[in-house]
Structures are given as structure tokens and as C-alpha cells.
């Protein structure tokens, strides 16, 4: 499973950050959220960004104490806080910025999909965040693209029956 993010739908409300941090910290603390809404205000473009749960997870590979393990049920990469020694190798090596570092505890942290029931998905009113298995997202996206093409054809006067 992983989080499918659709920036087109994101309204920028940051509820995902608030609830994510609250689950971990019992406080609203966006800088300790596993998901961040990156904002480009001039364009009103908002992109929620989080761990992609890579198949080949560099963070887990570089971890010198093997603190990052895949959860067999959710397929999310989880950090064992007791094992983590705070070396930040995972933070440094993740090419996407998917792992963050908590300076107060001296531990790395990242999205673990809340054990399969992510808070961010629950509160995302516009539906920009979805928990998905995989293939169905790709198909949905392909369908969306063809839908756009159909509109284009109709604009050109081509008769379609969809």
C-alpha cells in the first residue's frame, strides 16, 4: 500500500500535517509531520509530499543498524525508534526527502501509513490523498487522461459515444 497524492485536488488546508503530527506528538506540530504540503503561492499550487514507500528502499539499505523494516501487512517501511541511533544516513540518502529527523529525540522519522489507517487520508476533505494498493491508481489516471482526450476530440467535432 502507499499514499496516492493528487495535487490537482489539494486545497492547501494542511489538515494532513496537523493530524499526522498530532498522532505522533499529541501536539499540533507541522515540522514534525511525516507529510508536508509544499506551497507555491504565486501559482496557487499545493503539493502534499511524503514517503513514497519505495520498492527498493535506500533508507533501509543504508541503515547501519537495520532499524528500517517493511511491515508485512501494510508494506510500509517503518523505523524502529528503539534501534534508531540518529545517524541520519537515511535522511541523507533518501533522494526524495521522504525521511525526516527529529532533533528533540535524536531519531529519524517517516510515514508508516499509521499501520494501515492513515490519519491524513481520513481528514483530507477534497480527496487529494488516498491509500492505494497500486494498479488501480494507474488505471484511474489513464482513464482520466483518455477522458481529457475525448473532450478534445469532441471539441474538434469528432463524434464520440462515451
Amino acid at each position: 500500500m502507499y499514499l496516492d497524492v493528487n495535487p490537482e485536488l489539494c486545497t492547501g488546508c494542511s489538515l494532513c500535517e496537523a493530524f499526522c503530527s498530532f498522532r505522533r506528538e499529541k501536539a499540533i506540530w507541522p515540522t514534525k509531520s511525516c507529510i508536508s504540503v509544499l506551497k507555491y503561492e504565486r501559482e496557487a499550487l499545493y503539493i502534499p509530499f511524503t514517503c513514497q514507500q519505495c520498492e527498493k528502499a535506500i533508507c533501509a539499505e543504508v541503515c547501519p543498524v537495520q532499524a528500517i523494516k517493511r511491515n508485512a501487512h501494510t508494506r510500509a517501511w517503518e523505523i524502529d525508534a528503539n534501534k534508531c541511533m540518529g545517524c541520519k544516513m537515511c535522511v541523507a540518502s533518501c533522494p526524495l526527502g521522504g525521511v525526516a529527523f527529529d532533533p528533540h529525540r535524536g531519531r529519524a522519522f517517516k510515514c508508516d501509513l499509521c499501520g494501515g489507517d492513515p490519519e491524513c487520508v481520513k481528514v483530507c476533505a477534497p480527496g487529494a490523498l488516498k491509500l492505494v494498493k497500486g494498479p488501480e491508481v494507474v488505471l484511474a489516471k489513464r482513464r482520466r487522461v483518455t477522458q481529457n482526450m475525448l473532450h478534445l476530440l469532441q471539441n474538434w467535432g469528432v463524434e464520440t459515444h462515451v
Binding site: 490537482e8 485536488l9 486545497t11 492547501g12 488546508c13 494542511s14 489538515l15 496537523a18 493530524f19 503530527s21 498530532f22 506528538e25 499529541k26 501536539a27 499540533i28 506540530w29 507541522p30 515540522t31 514534525k32 509544499l38 506551497k39 507555491y40 503561492e41 504565486r42 496557487a44 481520513k122 481528514v123 476533505a125 477534497p126
Partner: protein, 648 residues
């Protein structure tokens, strides 16, 4: 650590005269008695700004206040409140905006900013957690609000910095200049931007990395989730979420409550051209939300063709569509968006600016303003070229614009010749797009609002288009059917009083009135009490919360009393009282203000002759200092000492 969670426990006091910044602790008693937001604001104003002070002098304070729910999980808890003595009304003034500035201030570790004095040259305040600095803003002076925000983001190399700033209108102290906060939300009313300009303060840029602690995390989390679920299940959620406030254009037009031609009519022949459906069809791009808001009532609009092609703007509200539409007889949507964008950039309150223009247009129509006085401009209804020109002239206080920059009340006094009749204001503040003849409670709300004409203090929504179910749920069956009938005056004093007390609490806690409390009326007293209790650890029940709301509202009124306000000022323009509304469902109606006002004073326990709170009421609200300051000889003991005239 501060005794109560939800607060940061810190206030920043900035003395602009001496360029000195102090971090002081928030008093526990302030949280207990005034909650936050405008509650904090009025207490500081009361204690420190003499009522005779010129609002544009260094003596005035400019306060930015958050509340205990700001920046939390509660739906739309992203509000920031600005409070100062208003340069528009010369009495208590405040305004409230969403966006992200309020939460960021809390993440930086501050509940409140208090500015006093005047900087010798333009400055901005930069806050990054513990780092707090006044910095030179000479290069920002003259820039519009959007440019200012962008320059600050670039200059500070921080795309996440949140900004509150003024545009040219604030710099030139236009009496209804607003403060814009990230992203393009407005602290619109009461002229807070002029106060900021008078202090040579161009902007506040804030960045915070801390967390907000909660007293009872588990309960709070579940309650917040419940609120989110309830809002999303609310009957009007889909419409409000899809269209935002523009969604009510058609409804208001239908009930004759859509001010047209400077309130000459209550319905606009071409309303369909400027309603939400047209707006969406032509210009919609994307839904945008304030902090923690599932409603996302703000939208990104783009003009795709024609003269203003490429123009993108947000915060296009019902008020905008009315102000630059029906109000001045303009049915061209693109030009409304253009005017909205101009007002945002210049930093003008859309409501007051558009009313100032419609006021001038009516004077021109009636022949009161001569050709020479308006510098040869063509002020005929709907002439958008003139509107654009006037917006600039107002913001830069040029020529005739300088007069309109004073607001319609002052402008009418200067013009004379009967102009006052067409100045649609209460206590100096221009009336929003809400006609008290079509919705009687709205007329009363304009009159009793502590910041002058205003629809958001009492915010009667129950009887707008008739919500009998909600009226019954909130107040009980015995109040129906009159409570939900906009044309009835029965129980409206009660409705407005309850709304004002509740709104004072909502504004002070830091919630939005559009998404959850008044519009989409899901969250009410009991819910607010629970949310505040779980967040803060304050032992607070509904009764205690109601007392806080009343205390805030009464202290604002007391401040206004010291500013010279009394019953004589609690009135509407004669047009509302004497000229029957000619439109739609409101045809033939005037606002029957007096009996509603009598009921209102009675319920407030205010003296119906003077409009002053009674000693008994003030003592009950622990406001003995207000009794002493106003003077016992001016106040009566209780309403029983004064038999109200209840003839109607």
C-alpha cells in the same frame, strides 16, 4: 510553562518609537476571562488606548491576537484577529481573517503581537521562533500587497514564511484600508490597515517550528474528527464547499436582500450574470482552503479571454460580487474580478471601497456632485473605467479619491447638500451587502455591532432564508415560526444578542464563522465549550462561555460609550427606515428597528434611554472598572429601574 494548553503563553510587545521588543508572559486571568482574539484585544485597548486618542496617532495600539483553538485540529481554526481603535468609526475596531498567518504565529510561540508608537522610517517585523527583529522596509514601501509578500518570501529565502502586510491604501491611511494575510485573505473592516500604515509598519513576516500542546489530546482528537465528520455531512456543505459565499447571490436576490444601486433596490435584474454559477462556468480553476478547513470556500479564478485575460484572483466573495456588481449596476464578471484584484493589491476593504464608489455615483446621479468636483469624471452607474480610476485615486488619496478615502460618513459631512441621506453607513462604517428591510434581524445586527455597520457580529443566519429546523434545534419550538421568518421582527433581538455573544467567543477562540458556526451552523455553544475545555484544560461549561462572550461584548460597548457612542448612534440610514424596499419578497418593507432594539436592550440589560450597560450587568460580568470609568452617575442600576416600552 503556561498553565493552560492551547496557548503559547507569550505576548510580543513592540515599541516602534524606541524600536524595542519585549517578550512578556500572557496573564492567566486574561485567558480565563477573555479567552483570546478580540477578547484579548478589547482588554488591551481598554487598558491602554485612551478613548479620546486619534486612531492614527502613535498612542493607538495595533494588536494581532490568536486564540486557544488557532492552529489546532478543529475545522477552520486558522483565524487571526486584528484590533485597534478604528480610524473609520473612531471607536472600537477589529477585523478577522483566515489563511495561515494566525497558526504560524502560534507555531512561532506567540499568542499575540502588540504594536505601539510609530517607527521613524518604514519597517517590517520578522519573527522566526525566538528571533524577533525590526527590519528596514524602505524598499517595500509603495509596493502592493502581493508584491510585498513575494519579495519577503524571496528575500528571507523561505517559501513558507507567512506575511501580514498593507498596500498603498494602508500607507496613505485610507480610513478603510485593510491588512492582507497569507495567502490573500483580508483583515478587511474597521481600517486596521490605516492604523498599520500610521505606524510605518509595512509587514509582519513570521515563521514558526514549534508545536501547540493540548490538555486532553485523546478527547480533543476525537472531538475534532467528529466536527470534521459533521461538517462534511451537513446539508449545505456541498453547496458552500463548491461555491463559497458567492453561492448566496441568487438566494439573496430572490428574497430582495441583494443591495442594488447603493441600496435603492433589493434585487438586481442581471443577478444571473454575476452569480456563483456564472462565476464558476467562466472563471473557476481550483478550490483553495484556509488552515484546517474542510470547506475550502475560497477559489482560484482566472480570466481566460478578453481585456483582462490572464488575470488570476482569489477571495472573490458574495460581498465582492455585490459591491462591484449590483451595487454599482455592473453585470460584467471579468471587470468585477479586476476590481477585486485591484482592491486586494492596493489593500482596500472591498465592502467600504465599493460602497464609497456607489455613494459617489448616486450623488452624481442626483446632481449633488458637480462636474468640477469629480474632476470631469463620468460617474454614471456601471462605468468600470471610472471605478478602476477611483480605486487608485482612493488608495493614493488623489483629488476626489482623497475625499472618498475618508469613508462615506466623513465625505458626506464635507459635501453637505443632503449627501448624508445617501451615505449608507452605521457609526461611520459602510454597510455590507445585507439589506435590513428584507431581513429584519440584519438591520438590528448592523445597528448593535460594536465596530459599526456589520453583518458578522450578530451574524443572523437562521432567518436568512428560513432555517426552521436549525432554529428549533438551537432555541426550541416556541420560537417558531417567527424566528425563521426574515420579515418578522419577533425574537430577533434575542437572535442577534445570542449571535453576538457566540460570535465574540468564536472570534476569540479562533474559529471561522463561515465554516461551521454560523454558516453550516453545526458547531454551537456546547461544542465550543467542549473544544476549548479539551484544548486548554480551562474548566469551562456553556454558562461560563456565555459569560465570556457577554463580557467581551459589553466591554467593547463600554469602550464605545467612552468614545461618545450612545443610543442615538444605534440607528440605520433613513433609507432603511423610510424607503420601502421595492424588490421581490421584501417589497414594501422597511426595517422596523425600534421594537427589535427595545427587546435587544432589555435582554442585554442595557439602559434603553442611553444604550449604556447597567451597573448590575457590568458587575455581574466582573467589569467593575467599567462602572468606575464611565461613572456611576451616568449608569442606572438595572433594567428594572427602567421600564422598557414594550408596546409592539
Amino acid at each position: 510553562m503556561f498553565k493552560y494548553r492551547g496557548y503559547t503563553g507569550n505576548i510580543l510587545r513592540v515599541d516602534l518609537n524606541r524600536q524595542k521588543i519585549d517578550k512578556i508572559p500572557l496573564a492567566e486571568s486574561l485567558a480565563e476571562k477573555y479567552l483570546g482574539g478580540n477578547g484579548f484585544g478589547i482588554r488591551f485597548l481598554w487598558d491602554e488606548v485612551p478613548p479620546e486618542a486619534d486612531p492614527l496617532s502613535p498612542v493607538n495600539l495595533l494588536i494581532f491576537a490568536t486564540g486557544p483553538l488557532v492552529g489546532t485540529l478543529i475545522p477552520n481554526s486558522g483565524r487571526i484577529e486584528a484590533i485597534a481603535k478604528s480610524p473609520l468609526t473612531n471607536m472600537y475596531g477589529d477585523s478577522n481573517a483566515g489563511g495561515f498567518f494566525g497558526p504560524e504565529l502560534k507555531f512561532a510561540g506567540y499568542d499575540m503581537l502588540v504594536f505601539r508608537g510609530r517607527a521613524p522610517q518604514p519597517v517590517y517585523l520578522y519573527i522566526e521562533d525566538e528571533l524577533v527583529e525590526l527590519r528596514d522596509a524602505t524598499h517595500l514601501w509603495g509596493k502592493d500587497t502581493i508584491e510585498t509578500e513575494e519579495i519577503l518570501r524571496d528575500e528571507l529565502k523561505d517559501p513558507d514564511v507567512k506575511v501580514a502586510c498593507i498596500g498603498p491604501a494602508g500607507e496613505n491611511m485610507v480610513r478603510y484600508a485593510c491588512i492582507q494575510v497569507t495567502p490573500q485573505r483580508s483583515l478587511g473592516r474597521s481600517g486596521m490597515g490605516a492604523v498599520m500604515g500610521s505606524k510605518n509598519l509595512k509587514a509582519v513576516a513570521v515563521r514558526g517550528t514549534k508545536g501547540i500542546a493540548i490538555a486532553e489530546p485523546d478527547k480533543f482528537h476525537d472531538l475534532a474528527l467528529e466536527f470534521h465528520r459533521r461538517l462534511r455531512a451537513n446539508d449545505v456543505y456541498p453547496a458552500v464547499s463548491k461555491y463559497g459565499t458567492p453561492g448566496i447571490v441568487s438566494i439573496m436576490n430572490m428574497i430582495g436582500r441583494f443591495p442594488t444601486k447603493n441600496f435603492q433596490y433589493g434585487a438586481y435584474e442581471w443577478a444571473d450574470d454575476i452569480n456563483a454559477e456564472s462565476l464558476h462556468k467562466k472563471h473557476f480553476v481550483k478550490h483553495l482552503a484556509c488552515y484546517a478547513c474542510p470547506v475550502a470556500c475560497d477559489k482560484l479564478f482566472k480570466i481566460k479571454e478578453g481585456e483582462y485575460r490572464g488575470l488570476a484572483c482569489r477571495s472573490v466573495e458574495y460581498e465582492t460580487l455585490n459591491g462591484f456588481g449590483a451595487n454599482i449596476l455592473n453585470r460584467d464578471l471579468a471587470s468585477i474580478l479586476k476590481a477585486n484584484d485591484m482592491a486586494d493589491r492596493l489593500g482596500l476593504d472591498v465592502i467600504s471601497a465599493s460602497r464609497a464608489i456607489s455613494f459617489a455615483m448616486e450623488l452624481w446621479e442626483k446632481g449633488i456632485l458637480s462636474h468640477g468636483e469629480v474632476e470631469g469624471m463620468d460617474l454614471s452607474w456601471g462605468n468600470m473605467e471610472t471605478v478602476f480610476k477611483l480605486l487608485n485615486m482612493i488608495a493614493y488619496r488623489q483629488g476626489f479619491g482623497d475625499l472618498l478615502a475618508e469613508g462615506v460618513k466623513r465625505a458626506a459631512e464635507k459635501i453637505g447638500r443632503g449627501a448624508e441621506y445617501y451615505a449608507m453607513h452605521v457609526k461611520g462604517q459602510e454597510i455590507a451587502a445585507q439589506d435590513g428591510r428584507a431581513q429584519q434581524s440584519m438591520g438590528l445586527a448592523h445597528v448593535t455591532s460594536n465596530r459599526g455597520a456589520d453583518h458578522l457580529k450578530g451574524f443572523p443566519t437562521i432567518d436568512e432564508t428560513g432555517y426552521p429546523a436549525e432554529a428549533e434545534r438551537r432555541y426550541g419550538k416556541e420560537y417558531l415560526p417567527d424566528m425563521a421568518d426574515p420579515r418578522s421582527i419577533k425574537h430577533k433581538g434575542f437572535l442577534v444578542k445570542d449571535g453576538e455573544d457566540f460570535a465574540a467567543v468564536v472570534d476569540s477562540a479562533g474559529n471561522c464563522k463561515s465554516g461551521g458556526t454560523f454558516v453550516l451552523a453545526e458547531i454551537y455553544w456546547e461544542d465550543m465549550a467542549r473544544a476549548i475545555r479539551y484544548a486548554t484544560g480551562l474548566e469551562i461549561e456553556v454558562q461560563g462561555l456565555k459569560k465570556i462572550g457577554e463580557r467581551i461584548y459589553n466591554l467593547q460597548r463600554c469602550y464605545n460609550v467612552l468614545c461618545g457612542i450612545s443610543r442615538k448612534d444605534d440607528t440605520l440610514p433613513r433609507r432603511f427606515l423610510e424607503e420601502p424596499n421595492p424588490s421581490a419578497a421584501a417589497k414594501g418593507l422597511v426595517c422596523r428597528l425600534e421594537p427589535m432594539l427595545e427587546e435587544y436592550y432589555y435582554l442585554r440589560n442595557w439602559d434603553p434611554r442611553t444604550g449604556y450597560p447597567t451597573i448590575k450587568k457590568l458587575e455581574e460580568l466582573d467589569l467593575k472598572d467599567a462602572v468606575d470609568r464611565i461613572g456611576r452617575e451616568k449608569l442606572i442600576y438595572s433594567r428594572e429601574d427602567m421600564k422598557p416600552d414594550r408596546s409592539e
